[in-house]
Structures are given as C-alpha cells and as structure tokens.
Symmetry: C2
Subunit: 245 residues, 2 copies
C-alpha cells in the first residue's frame, strides 16, 4: 500500500467546503475521493491538512491518501488533472513516508484573509476578497493582533460551543499589510479552531473601524466567551495560503 | 446638455460583448444605458471607445454620454456603482469637453492577450486567460510580431469579409512577455479591425508552436486574405487594457 501526498489549490466559491457531507458531492474532499476511487479502481479516502469552510479557498492545501497502484506519480498527477473540475487544481503529487498524514503531520498553517478596502470596485478579484470600503486604522488593528499572538485559549474565537478538546493554540504570527486597495491579514498557527480566523478577522475589523479599542483583546481572550468577540467575517475573503510539515 | 466621460472595467465572461443587441440586455452597453436612463430619468445613449466581443474583458474601457443633470460627478458615480452588477465596475466619472466622443476621440488602444502556459492548473485566473500548456518559442513569436508592427492593410487579420472602409491600421507596438507560467501579448494600435487581435494571437501561437515560420507574416499581410492567417484565439484570453486620448 503506497502513501501519497497531493498538493491542491481551489476556488472554493461554489463548494460546500472541504469535508465530505453524506450524499452531497459538492465538497472538495467528495470530488477528490470520487475521482481517485474511479481512477484507481479501489475505495480511496483522502485526509486534508484541515477542513476549509464552505466558500473558503486554498492556494495550497495538502492531502494524503493510501492506494495500491504501480503508476508513477507523474502519470497519476496528469490523470487527476484531466478529470478534476476547473476550480480545483492539482499542483503536485509524490510518494510520502508510510506514517505521513496530511492533518496529523501538519506542523503549521497560514491563512490569509483578503479585504478590498476601496470605493473603487474590483471586478476581477472580488470572489476572493471581502469588500469593505470604510476607512480602516491598520495601526490599531496591528496593536490588537499583537495581543493575540502566542499560546492562548482561543475559546472566545471559536464557533463550536461543545468543544471537548483543548482550545489552546499557538498563534505564531499575525501580519497585516496593505498593497494598494487590498489589505491582507495573514495568520500562522499550529492549528485553528472552528471559524477562528474569521472571528479574529471580524474582531480586528471592529478595531480598525474604531468601534473597539485594541486593548480589549486580552479581556476577550480571558473571557473564553464567544459572545465577547466580534462577528464572523464572511467565508469568501479567506484563503488557506500554505501548509507546513 | 453635459457631456460625460465614464471609465469602466468589466469581467466579460457572462456578457454578449459591449454592443447592445436589440432585445438582449446581456451586453455592457445595454446594462449601462438601461441604468443611466433610469438614474437620470431621460433616454441616455452610451458610446464606447471600441466594441469588445462576447467574453472579452476590460481593465480600462472608456465611454461617453450626454445628459441633462445638475448632479455632481462624485454623487452620480456613487449611484452608478451602487446599481451596476458585480462584474462591471465604474472607475471614474468626469465632465468632458463638448466635442469629446469615446470612440471618435480615441487616439490609441492597448489590448492584452493572456496565455496560461503551464501544465500546472491556474484555478484563480483561468477565466481571463487561454490555457495553452504546450511549449512556446517566444523568440519566434517576437520575430513574427515585429513584421506586423507599423502601418499595414490588416485585411488578412480581419473577420469581417464585407468591410467597405479601409483596413489600414497602425500597429504601433507588440510586446510579448513571460511572468512565471503566464505569457502576455500586448498590442497597441490606433484602431483594431473585427477580431484582429484574436487572429494575430492565433497566428502567433502557430508560430510559437513551430507550425509556421516567423517570416510568413509578410506574405500573410500581403495576401489580404483571411484564409492565410491562423485561427481566431478564444475571447476569454483577451482584455482591453488601456485607452488613450
């Protein structure tokens, strides 16, 4: 049984997210498993580095799967490319060590939230950004973000109310940059809770718009209460940017 | 009666091109005229710098229209932005001199044809590029393009068989560049014939793929025969890039 590492990108606009859902095939995992099962003539299960929500995109998503086959990776990658829909791209395929698992082996992930912060419309990249034309105070947002960096219990930034496992994550870095009309918020952590990036971004946007003080972040973290944080930013602005092993 | 200059951009994917067609409203001009007629409470006719084909995009398209109104341009621009569909963007609006006409006053236009020349799929920008994974000889394409530069009768590169007016155009510049997997062919001229850019690109692609010699361009021009040139490249790779007055 070989173990494969497959690197993907996708425009998540029309998908119900990464994770296969019962009968619905409109998930990235569902599309992949159906395709690999047909191509390889055996039931294939795919593990992703993480589950992206409905409407979230990936510039680099990594997944792993086991299969019995003699095909070389280049040929198999060509076949995968030929049959994947236009909005899912296969970037690379290689044999992985036997114990490699896309989720369990993952050391760190970077998500980028893209905001189009201009009155001028952006017709070409609008699908992958949140349109937010109001003025934003980036310095205040950076001051707020700095308080979130480090190892914390991020329960206040988690949409799953019935989490039994630990909500402690190490948010190694938050970088906020502007390029013309676009603002990017890049978050790097060893793991992310359900909706964590989108709730952090929703809270930072409140700070940027002057509706909250940057200093409130510590109290929000300490409360461990989802109601203390800001709203969940829309999925379409979010892209899984890179995955590190 | 005021005369306005409106600068637009659009993702042409779902439109039947610039020019209004009878009942069909799925044209850029149609959308604009309907919107301006409603906004200004008077029948408004819009002239574009040129007619982009169905499926062709614009990073900068300029149009002009006359209307009776006291509204300042900023307010009117805001209203236009509020009602335009997501894939048409209004970039700027200003009062123009009385004799300004978007098409007749236009001095020069630049079109860019974008080619995704890589086996690796591009899921994010595929709507605005032609996917052409085969190897292309850019030097041969540049040598071929150089022979087209200058004032020529471009009948061989025109899809309109019943043109009564002159087919002489001044192709001031053709620039072919590569950035990673993307190749851009930028054509600048005082005017373009029907399908001219797409036929030039289709012919250059044959040269790049080694199916034609660069030296053939002179003979194709001299023939004035559409059958001598290459195929018409697909619309989706083409973008009206800039318009000069």
């Amino acid at each position: 049984m070989r173990n494969f590492k497959l690197t993907l990108c996708y425009d998540g606009t029309r998908y119900d997210g990464w994770q296969r859902q019962g009968n619905s095939d409109e998930t990235i995992q569902g599309k992949l498993e159906t395709l690999l099962t047909r191509l390889l003539g055996q039931s294939v299960e795919v593990a992703g580095s993480g589950r992206t929500d409905a409407g979230v995109h990936a510039l680099e998503q990594v997944c792993s799967f086991r299969a019995e086959t003699d095909e070389d990776c280049e040929t198999l990658l060509g076949e995968i490319r030929r049959f994947l829909p236009e909005d899912i791209g296969a970037l690379a395929l290689c044999d992985a060590p036997p114990r490699f698992h896309a989720r369990l082996s993952c050391r760190e992930k970077t998500y980028v939230y893209r905001i189009w912060n201009s009155a001028e419309p952006n017709v070409f990249e609008r699908r992958w950004m949140l349109a937010f034309p109001q003025k934003l105070d980036l310095e205040a947002m950076r001051a707020a973000a700095a308080q979130l960096v480090g190892e914390h219990d991020f329960s206040a930034f988690c949409a799953n109310r019935h989490m039994k496992k630990t909500a402690v994550r190490n948010l190694r870095d938050v970088e906020i940059s502007r390029m013309g009309g676009e603002i990017r918020i890049a978050l790097t952590a060893d793991g992310f809770l359900y909706h964590m990036v989108r709730i952090v971004v929703g809270t930072l946007l409140e700070v940027g718009a002057g509706r909250r003080a940057p200093e409130e972040m510590r109290a929000i973290l300490a409360s461990r209460d989802r109601m203390e944080a800001g709203p969940t930013a829309p999925a379409q602005g979010l892209t899984l940017w890179s995955v590190h092993y």
